[in-house]
């Protein structure tokens, strides 16, 4: 079914799919009117979408190495853009980002700038050259450009550390959503999430993941934009929120000035359930120092350009030219969601704090708010909390607490949208987390199976055997990730940011200099990867254990230190050792020319 003319029919296939999904939403809305329970709607949304992904995964099964590793290098630019956007936007982007903006304002929005600006680096410094190289994985580039098993192995290690940190967070997110939507305990829900993830990737490898990611993007973007537009219209903020919320933004600033940010005593805060926060920072004012903002944005940008699961999406395009364009499309599709997150945060905050809106709770009596249906639901889910600290009987700004996830998950309900929207949002969150988890697990499994097993351990292995090894590793890594996720060690967002820092510490300069500096050699690259990763990780451990840090580099931006060490050590070691041989230099020249054969053969 998925052969030859499938590529030509893509717009039609996904057009029908999108129409079908919209029809499904309408059917669910009608079912809700006819009395279908909220729980049943939630189950239908998650089960229906996951079943579709599984079918796509099955239809994309393959026994060929280049289909398994790089989807046969025939993914058109626009579709690769959608797949990359789904690959990129994780559970954190979908569920946690609007919440972060809601609570932290400007300081947090460095992530928006960082997670988009990084694509300029991807497009200009790396993606087209790595596509020309013709590699299957990121360590494949490092191993061939610098030569030797040690450099390849180092790249595999950095990739695994960064991606694994990231993937546990994503499996955690699928588990959270599955446990809420299907109403099962989290420890089991994590494995339900994992099995859904593996269904997409196991049979078809990169090919399966590509076509499910496109499907997941369509679900997640509808699930994000529909509520934003609906809420904006419902509370009368404007029919196109992105261009029309200026009055709402200044109204929030006005209310903030009126209420003031009262600091709660530590004793009062002890009452508040863990993970919930109040509004303590101004919504649209600049509330962070330039360096705090810039360092976080910079770390995220360099991390973007070093994360292997994104980079390998550009290995699937038909040409170098297509790889460049595809980066633009990726960012366009990401932009659609990222530019909506601040709008959702604005609408959500205004709906809750403006006393002149029917949904506003600030200034109402505590007992009145405690009687509201949605408050009771989300209070029970441990995502909302009020307490009358000053004992005056009314809810003040500093007496209302909410979890970060609630901004995306609860705002539709607060604004009075039908439950079908909440079901849709759950399906969207699931799609976002699954697509990222798939990309990451595949990146790790491919690096281990291709670079470690095939290139280092058993270079004579048959294709069939290689693909069996790849699939076994996929399952093993998935289960390892799920097991760690089930232990719930750290929050979703924190570990995502760490993954970026690890990736940039070890891989940014070895990748960039591999293309842009001919003099870079094996010894330099190994030093750059090893010392970068070690110093970055060391800094993180030091700061976590009470170290004071320096230059304002925090545990969220330790990659700046790691990558600086990586750059210096790579340059110094390269210069004091012999320059790369003529063959390597010629290879670099070849990479810089877009036309002609790729460096590595079609099958390697």
């Amino acid at each position: 079914m998925i052969k030859g003319n499938f590529i030509d029919n893509l717009p039609k296939v996904y057009g029908i799919y999108t129409g079908g999904f919209l029809a499904f939403i309408i059917i669910m809305a009608i079912a809700e009117q006819m009395g279908m329970s909220a729980k049943a709607i939630g189950i239908c949304f998650v089960a229906f979408t996951v079943a579709i992904y599984a079918i796509i995964g099955y239809l994309s099964r393959t026994a060929q190495a280049d289909a398994y590793y790089v989807a046969g290098r025939q993914v058109p630019t626009v579709f690769n853009g959608m797949a990359t956007a789904a690959d990129w936007m994780s559970g954190a982007s979908f569920v946690a980002m609007a919440g972060g903006i809601y609570f932290k304002g400007y300081g947090y929005m460095a992530l928006l700038v960082g997670w988009t600006g990084g694509y300029v680096l991807v497009a200009s410094l790396l993606a087209p050259y790595l596509r020309k190289f013709g590699c299957y994985t990121v360590p494949d580039f490092i191993g061939t450009r610098y030569g030797g098993n040690l450099s390849r192995l180092m790249a595999v290690i950095v990739l695994t550390v960064a991606s694994f940190t990231y993937v546990t967070a994503q499996i955690n997110a699928t588990g959270t959503i599955a446990s809420v939507a299907l109403d099962i305990p989290f420890q089991y829900a994590v494995y339900v999430g994992l099995i859904s993830i593996l269904l997409c990737s196991m049979l078809g490898g990169m090919r399966g993941v590509t076509w499910t990611q496109v499907a997941q993007y369509i679900v997640l973007i509808i699930a994000y934009l529909l509520p934003v537009f609906w809420i904006s219209n419902k509370i009368g903020a404007g029919f196109f929120p992105h261009f029309m919320l200026a009055d709402e933004v200044s109204r929030i600033a006005e209310l903030e000035a009126q209420f003031g940010f009262v600091k709660n005593s530590a004793e009062n805060l002890k009452e508040v359930p863990k993970g919930l926060a109040g509004i303590t920072k101004a919504h649209s004012a600049v509330n962070a120092t330039p360096w705090a903002f810039i360092s976080l944005a910079l770390a995220m940008m360099m991390g973007t350009a070093s994360l292997p699961h994104v980079m390998m999406r550009y290995f699937t395009t038909p040409s170098v030219k297509a790889a460049r364009k595809s980066v633009g499309w990726s960012l366009f599709f990401i932009f659609l969601l990222y530019s909506s997150a601040p709008m959702l945060a604005t609408l959500s905050k205004l709906a809750l704090i403006d006393p002149s809106l029917p949904t506003g709770i600030i200034g109402k009596s505590v007992s009145e708010v405690q009687a509201i249906d949605w408050y009771q639901n989300w209070n029970q889910a441990n995502l909302m909390f009020i307490s009358d600290f000053n004992g005056n009987g009314t809810v003040e700004l500093n007496e209302f607490f909410m979890g970060g996830k609630a901004v995306v998950l609860a705002t539709p309900e607060i604004a009075g949208l039908p439950y079908v929207i909440s079901g849709l949002v759950a399906a969207g969150g699931m799609a976002a987390a699954m697509s990222t988890a798939d990309g990451l697990i595949l990146a790790i499994a491919n690096a281990l199976s291709h670079d470690l097993y095939y290139k280092i351990i058993d270079p004579k292995a048959e294709t069939a055997k290689r693909l069996v090894v790849a699939r076994v590793l996929l399952v093993v890594i998935g289960f390892a990730g799920a097991t760690i996720a089930a232990m719930e060690i750290q929050g979703i967002l924190g570990s995502v940011i760490w993954a970026f820092d690890f990736a940039m510490s070890g891989l940014f300069f070895p990748l960039v200099l591999g293309v842009w500096w001919k003099r870079a050699n094996r010894e330099g690259a190994i030093a750059g990867m090893a010392l970068g990763l070690i110093s970055g990780a060391g800094y993180l451990i030091w700061v976590r254990n009470g170290g004071s840090g320096f230059l304002g580099i925090t545990q969220l931006t330790f990659g700046i230190f790691g990558s600086a060490v990586s750059l210096v050590s790579m340059v110094v070691v390269s210069l004091i050792t012999a320059e790369p041989n003529a063959a390597t230099q010629k290879m670099v020249d070849e990479v810089r020319v877009p036309s002609g054969k790729s460096i590595l053969g079609k099958q390697h």
Partner: protein, 86 residues
């Protein structure tokens, strides 16, 4: 200078321009975040706020497409562009 070296020189020039624009909108303007936020930006949002929500993000999208087109022109000029339309 060989054709290849000239091609690379132009490519490097384009990279520098691209990175300069990128630097301005991802780092440069945020050095003056507090001052800029006093100004009213597009659609009536405070200017720095608008850049973090939409401005910088949108500029990056346009920048990448612009870069891709310029690079294609450079490749064509030296006969290095690939056949096939995508």
């Amino acid at each position: 200078m060989s054709k290849q070296a000239q091609h690379w020189e132009k490519t490097r020039g384009l990279l520098m321009v691209t990175l300069a624009i990128w630097f301005v909108f991802s780092i440069g303007i945020f050095l003056f975040g507090a001052e800029m936020n006093e100004v009213t930006g597009p659609f009536g949002y405070p200017l720095t706020y608008w850049f973090t929500c939409q401005g910088s993000l949108g500029i990056f999208v346009i920048l990448i497409f612009w870069f891709a087109n310029r690079q294609e022109k450079i490749d064509e000029e030296f006969g290095f562009s690939e056949r096939g339309d995508d």
